[in-house]
Structure formats: C-alpha cells, structure tokens
C-alpha cells in the first residue's frame, strides 16, 4: 500500500507540514499593531509612504485593515485593532464617548469632491456649492452612485443630501444607485454608467479607471474631510498594545508624522493636509 503515494496524500502531507510551520514563522516577527482604517488612506498610497518611516524609527510594523469607516469603528469596538484612523468625526466622538476609544485627535484633512460625466446632464460643472449641485442632480434625475456602506464618505454624502433637501430614500434604485461597496468600486460603477459620485480627493487622484469622469464640484468649505486617530480603549480590550499604539499616535501627531503626511504627493499634488493640534482653528476648505 505504501509503494505508491497518492497525490492526495502528497498534497495533504505538504499542507499539514505548512500548517505546522506557520506558527513558527509568525513568532519570529517584529512587534506590530493593527490599525483599523479606511480605504481612502490605503488606496491613495498614503500608508505606503509614511509607514516605512515609522517602522524605521521604532521597529514597529503597522498592519492596516482598510475598510469603510463604519466597519472600521465596529471592528475597533470589538477590540480587533489597536488604533482607529478614520474620517467621520461625529461617529468617532460617539465611539470614544461609549468607551470604545481613549481619546480622539485630529490628524489631517483633505476634501471631498463631486465627480461626474463630461456630458454633465445636471449642468453643475465648475460650481462651488455642493448642496445646490445635488439639488440639480435630483431635479433632472441624473444617475448618482453612492457608497451606501456607512463609510465616512457615505455619512458625509448623506449630510449633503439633507442640506440640499433631497430625500434619497425615495430615489433609491431609480436614479440614485446605492452600491453598498468601497470608494473604488463605487467609482468604477459611476464610470461605468456615467453617474455622479461623491469621493474624497485622495482616492480620486489615485484612482486609475476614471474613464469619462471628471471633477464637477470642489472647494465648497462644507466638503471638508477631517481624519481623526484614536487609541482603542485598553480598559475594554486587554489585548490592545498600548505602548506601540500610543507610539504610533504620538508619531503621527508629532512633527515627524505630520511632515511625513505633508510630503506625500501623487502626480505632483499633495493629498492630505496635516492639522494635528489645531482643534481650535477655523475649519478650512
């Protein structure tokens, strides 16, 4: 029976061997923290730019889980991460108030833009008023692609619809398309069907499948997009790596981290604007 090993057995043996090796390699790793963050910071390439600097300084690996802000906050609330870095200030403050996080700090900002097809059926291009533009889109029932995933961007978008006085629930499935997915997938959908969409500028600049889409609305102070950072509460979750997590937050908020954020450029454009410690200054556009 032993004279011919079946391929099945070979595969099984190989794989079982791999399982047994796996924990060994895991142990030999550097100290690391898990950061629950958003797709915009990841997809734009910001993390790839700043994390190596942090690692060089401290030896700490930062493992980024990039999901929507809503999902990131939920994961952090479950204790599945050491640091939360997202962009939905109200939700973040609620998270801290409920004991999920220690304290919230402003880190940086960028802004949202509204993108749309060149044909511009709602005739809103080059405008500055986000609410008015959305109203026009609703009036002509031009297709609009929404994240619909409870992300920071989605929360912001809903705020702007409210400001425009449009009830999008009624339009959902009609001209209002809720994709229930990430920023990239939503932009792919918008590009595919010539729809308008709200996106953060960083994702937009880094996005490669723009197709017929272009920026139609930018510069409205209300389109301000603030990112905050929070240490997950170690009193609630004993597994939180306080020392390493705090080191990352301190670095981000300090001169080195802020400079690192400032120095990140794509196509010659700065994508994120550090504003740590400027809590009391007026909100810029």
């Amino acid at each position: 029976m032993k004279r011919y090993l079946s391929p099945l057995a070979v595969v099984s043996l190989a794989a079982v061997a791999l399982v047994t090796i796996a924990p060994v390699t895991a142990e030999a790793e550097d100290p690391f923290i898990i950061v629950q963050s958003t797709t915009s910071t990841q997809n734009s390439g910001l993390f790839n730019h700043i994390l190596p600097m942090f690692k060089k300084k401290t030896g700490i690996d930062v493992r980024v889980v990039a999901v929507g802000t809503g999902q990131a906050i939920k994961n952090a609330a479950n204790g599945d991460g050491d640091v939360l870095l997202v962009h939905a200030k109200a939700a973040e403050e609620k998270f801290v108030a409920e004991g999920g996080g220690v304290k919230r700090f402003d880190v940086m900002y960028n802004d949202f833009v509204i993108v749309g097809p060149k044909s511009d059926p709602a005739k809103i291009a080059r405008g500055k008023d986000a609410a008015a533009a959305l109203k026009s889109i609703a009036d002509v029932k031009a297709p609009f692609a929404s994240r619909g995933d409870d992300s920071g961007t989605h929360k912001a978008e809903k705020r702007h619809w409210k400001a425009a006085g449009v009830d999008i629930e009624k339009a959902s499935g009609d001209w209002y398309r809720s994709t229930g997915s990430g920023m990239g997938a939503t932009l792919n959908t918008a590009a595919g069907m010539g729809a308008y969409a709200l996106t953060d500028r960083a994702t937009w600049i880094a996005f490669k499948n723009k197709g017929d889409l272009q920026i139609v609305i930018e510069g409205d102070p209300k389109l301000f997009n603030q990112y905050g950072v929070i240490l997950v509460n170690p009193e609630k979750h004993k597994n939180v790596k306080v020392k390493e997590g705090q080191a990352f937050i301190d670095w981000l908020l300090g001169a080195e981290g802020q400079n690192a954020i400032r120095s990140f450029q794509l196509d010659g454009k700065q994508l994120f604007f550090p504003n740590a410690g400027q809590e009391n200054m007026k909100k810029a556009g």
Partner: protein, 235 residues
C-alpha cells in the same frame, strides 16, 4: 484601459520581473488554500464516506444540509469566522484574527462541505460495490471508511481539486478574517479586489490571469501525477 494583449504582457512582466511582493502573495495564496483543502480533506473525506456507509435516522437531512452548504457564500463564512475570532468573540483570546491561520480556518469551513458532499457521492457508488464483501469480512466502520477513501482516492482527488478551486478563487471570506494586510494576509484574490478598488483594472486583470494560471498549474500537476500513479498502480 488596456486591451487583453497588454493585460497579458503586464501579467507576464509581473511574473518575469521576479517581483518579490508578487511571489510572496502567490506563496501565501497557495499556503492558505492548500492547507485549507488538506484540512477539509481530513474532515470531509471521512465525513463523506461515513454518510455514504452508515444509515441513521436523519441522514438524508444531513446530506441535504451538506449539499446546501456547498453553495455557502464566502462572505457569510467570513463573517461567521470573524465573529468567532474577534476579540469580542468566543475565541478572541487566541488572537487569530487578521492572521493566515484565520484565513485557513475560514477556507476550511468553506470547502469542507463541498469536499464531503462530492466524496459522499463517489464513496456511495464504491460502497455499493464493496458492501457485501466488507460485511462478509466483518470489517469495522472505521476500516470500511479508510478502505473506501483509499480505493476511491483518484476520484476523491477530483473532489479535493474542486475544493482547491473554490478556496483559491474565494475573496469574501479571506478579506474579512484576514483584513488584506500587506505582507501579512494579502493573497491573490484580495490583491485583485484592492487593485480593482483602486481602479487599476489592468493590473487586477493581470493578477487574475496569474491566478488562473496558478490554478491551472495545480490542477494539471495533480491530474498528471494521478494518471501516472494510476497507470503504475491501479486500473
């Protein structure tokens, strides 16, 4: 956007450039999926054989359940494993979330019903043939199951391959429990999802092409091995 020709050359370029990151992603994909399939075989083959051999009340219901689970959406499995492995979940203390081990667990759960259901089918056919002999020999249940698995090994390797196909192509479960963390839990499918979300459809397609080639390679390797072994050992 690139046409298919440039996607192909992009894929080829990626492979030939010996890009360390690409290779580590490929290696992790293989490690996770092959391990999951091996574990799923370890559970699924005996389970399938058991269901083929042993009559008990409710067996049909179990088989129906198994068949239904063959089509389990990966996201549901991912969510289930996330809830179990989350720090707030029952197995949170193990600290397995966002590790390759978590991905292996999720894919094992995903693939076991498929392998068990396919195994049950081919084991049932073989069992019809062997049943009287085994009863005449007074074979124990465990030896019956072992003998069916061994003698059915070539048809069972098809079940294992089907499981591998499902595992290696799956993104919904591994992205939830692995987190698609660069250098740690990023595999082919989550890398494809990431590139798609960056709008880099050409790169995503190229990675997809590499994934298909990989699956093709594993499949033909197993089939060739199988054929030679069968020719040498068995008819």
């Amino acid at each position: 956007m690139s046409d298919s020709g440039s996607i192909f050359s992009l894929a080829l370029g990626l492979v030939l450039s010996g890009d360390a990151e690409l290779w580590s992603i490929i290696a992790l994909s293989l490690r996770v999926s092959l391990t999951a399939v091996a574990l799923a075989c370890l559970i699924g083959l005996p389970l399938g054989a058991f269901l083929a051999v042993v009559k008990f009340p409710g067996r049909d219901a179990v088989v129906a359940l198994l068949n239904a689970f063959m089509g389990l959406p990966p996201v549901v499995v991912g969510l289930f494993v996330y809830l179990a492995l989350s720090r707030s979940g029952p197995l949170g203390v193990l600290g397995l979330l966002y590790t390759p081990t978590a991905m292996i667990i999720a894919q094992t759960i995903l693939v076991t019903p498929l392998i068990a259901a396919l195994a049950r089918q081919s084991m049932a056919d073989l069992h019809v043939e062997y049943d009287e002999l085994f009863r005449s020999l007074g074979l124990s249940m465990s030896r019956t199951i072992a003998a069916l698995i061994w003698d059915g090994r070539y048809s069972l390797s098809t079940a294992a391959l089907a499981g591998f196909g499902r595992a290696i192509a799956e993104v919904g479960a591994v992205i939830i429990v692995g987190g698609n963390i660069e250098h740690v839990t990023r595999v082919m499918t989550t890398a494809i999802a990431l590139e798609t979300s960056k709008g880099d459809l050409a790169l995503a397609m190229a990675l997809g092409l590499i994934l298909i080639t990989l699956a093709l390679f594993v499949n033909s390797a197993v089939l060739t091995l199988n054929r030679t072994a069968r020719r040498l050992a068995y008819a």
